[in-house]
């Protein structure tokens, strides 16, 4: 009996140890980024463009670039993704088509992001001649986000109790009315959460934009869809691997990382808060 108790204590200690080591790693990670990034942060850092061969100044073009890339990608991906999910859940015929589509979507959801970048470069930049641009980059990011949005929307729609749509149809509403007035509003919180998390993911992606949109240095903001843009994740990568004056540029990289981190965490936290708020308000 004592041996079993001993084993019990041992294993519980092990679990606690695992958690502590994990937490330890993550704390060191975050503290490091904050401690090296915070000194660089200032209002000027956020609103000024880089100067003096990227050793001074700020990251405003990168911030703007990330914002534009993400916004455009979402404009392309959200409507297509949501309507695809609607078709799959409400209109999907024939069944084999639905199944094939599901297989394709699930596979795409797991594909490494660099392959999207490779594809984007081959098709948008070279074949279609869009060049390295906001357009190519956001299209590539949109395709990246599409499978996740579709899966998430489908799940959200499925989580609405079937009686809702059945009641609606029984009252004589058409499928369209049922979807737009009953199912979609009910599923909206989850759809929204998923969409917001996708925004966070797209903002932080580097590989898809490396050769489709991102540039190392540009002073002004893009004035058309054809322009190259700076972007926060690419900026970090470029400073660390191609930077010409590491002493001043490594701190800037940390600062950029901190900005990106704060951005992504704010976006994700918003999603989580919306979700728990909506769940509490939910009446079923």
């Amino acid at each position: 009996m004592n041996r079993r108790k001993g084993k019990n204590t041992f294993w519980i200690m092990m679990m606690i140890l695992m958690l502590i080591i994990t937490a330890g790693f993550l704390v060191v990670f975050i503290v490091r980024i904050i401690s090296l990034g915070a000194p660089v942060l200032s209002w000027k850092f956020i609103v000024e463009p880089p100067r003096e061969a990227m050793t001074e100044g700020g990251i405003f073009p990168a911030l703007m670039g990330t914002f534009l890339l993400t916004a455009l990608a979402m404009i392309f991906a959200l409507p297509s993704g949501i309507f695809t999910a609607i078709w799959l859940t409400h209109y999907g015929k024939p069944q084999w088509l639905v199944n094939i589509l599901h297989i394709i979507i699930n596979t795409m959801a797991g594909i490494p992001s660099i392959i999207f970048g490779l594809f984007g470069m081959a098709i948008f930049v070279n074949l279609l001649g869009f060049k390295v641009s906001l357009l190519s980059g956001s299209l590539t990011l949109a395709i990246l986000a599409l499978p996740v949005i579709i899966n998430n929307t489908e799940q959200a729609i499925h989580s609405v109790p079937a009686d809702f749509s059945e009641a609606s149809l029984a009252l004589g509403a058409t499928t369209r009315q049922t979807i737009s007035k009953v199912v979609f509003p009910a599923a909206l919180p989850n759809i929204l959460t998923g969409a917001i998390i996708s925004v966070g993911r797209v903002a932080g992606e580097t590989a898809p934009i490396m050769f489709t949109a991102a540039t190392f240095y540009s002073r002004s903001l893009p004035h058309s869809l054809q322009d190259e843009v700076m972007a926060l994740p690419y900026h970090i990568y470029a400073l660390m691997t191609e930077g010409t004056h590491p002493e001043s540029q490594v701190p800037i990289a940390y600062g950029t990382a901190l900005v990106l981190l704060i951005l992504v965490i704010l976006i994700d936290a918003t999603a989580i808060i919306i979700r728990s708020y909506m769940r509490k308000k939910r009446q079923w």
């Binding site: 108790k5 679990m15 980024i33 699930n106 490779l118 058409t174 979807i179 590989a207 660390m240 990382a257």
Partner: protein, 289 residues
């Protein structure tokens, strides 16, 4: 009137689905279309199993063995580090922690899962690699060990979160029955809860595998870039993903190097597809219950 609105809505949904299908099929088609031509130049056996990656020499060599092994080694290393840590943490959060702690821990893990990979890469190249180089008196800190470490940390939130979901979905009756029979808490965990949550846990490991093998930025910045089979865990490696990222900019559409990179993409696609397939098989029977 109603008829038109109905039809239009349905048509929009249908077109969206077609668009999605076209995009996604285009990617698969495009990868094969641009990758297969390589095999007129080199047999797929040579491509997969010889270690001779010299794409810009004359004549060029496209033996990707070291690259493929690089991907697997790094992923294996990441899983070795991540599994005990994430499963242990998951068990703790699900079975041992107080409800208050659990309320805090779950959202925190979700937030951590969203951290962009390039930030992990920065941490690796600027902080961890020099540290490891000093600690172990190595030639360089950019190697298999460091990149596995960072990749492992990156994958922990994913495995932890999904395993924890699986474990906390196990009905309390199972735990209570086990404890009522006189089992200790740890025995309950290992002999009752985990077997019941087995499918979810395996699924989370597969997801972690998929994420690790597909990761690009971390390995690009931290793995070292030597296309070789490492003789020790402290040597640099070059997985497929970082090879594609490092070389894709300098390829000209249509030439052999271009095809070779797409061939690597084919390999990654196939690995992802099978990993997904296995995950589906593991997860699906759960619904039939």
């Amino acid at each position: 009137m109603k008829g038109i609105k109905e039809k239009t809505f349905q048509a929009i949904a249908y077109i969206a689905s077609l668009l999605t299908a076209v995009c996604l099929i285009a990617i698969i088609y495009g990868i094969f279309h641009d990758g297969l031509p390589l095999f007129q130049f080199i047999s797929w056996k040579d491509f997969l199993f010889t270690n001779n990656w010299y794409p810009v020499y004359s004549p060029p060599g496209f033996g990707a063995w070291a690259l493929i092994m690089g991907s697997f080694y790094v992923t294996l290393g990441a899983l070795i580090i991540a599994l005990p840590l994430s499963l242990g943490s998951a068990i703790f959060i699900s079975e041992i922690a107080s409800p208050g702690l659990r309320e805090i821990a779950k959202p925190v893990i979700e937030l951590l899962a969203g951290i962009p990979s390039v930030v992990y890469g920065l941490f690796g190249i600027a902080f961890l690699a020099p540290l490891i180089r000093q600690w172990f008196s190595l030639d360089t800190g950019l190697n298999l060990f460091t990149s596995s470490l960072i990749l492992g940390i990156m994958v922990i939130p994913i495995i932890c979160s999904i395993s924890e979901d699986a474990m906390s979905s196990v009905p309390h009756s199972i735990r209570e029955a086990s404890l009522a029979l006189g089992a200790t808490k740890s025995e309950t965990i290992f002999k009752a809860v985990i077997p019941a949550a087995k499918k979810g846990i395996i699924g989370s490991i597969l997801l972690g595998f998929g994420r690790a093998i597909g990761e690009t930025m971390v390995v690009l910045m931290v793995a070292g870039g030597a296309a070789q089979i490492p003789k020790s865990i402290f040597e640099p490696v070059r997985p497929m993903t970082s090879t594609i990222a490092a070389e894709m900019g300098e390829t000209i559409m249509g030439d052999l190097h271009y095809n070779a990179l797409f061939a690597l993409a084919i390999v990654l696609l196939i690995i992802t597809f099978f990993s997904n397939l296995i995950t589906e098989i593991v997860f699906r029977p759960k619904r039939q219950k």
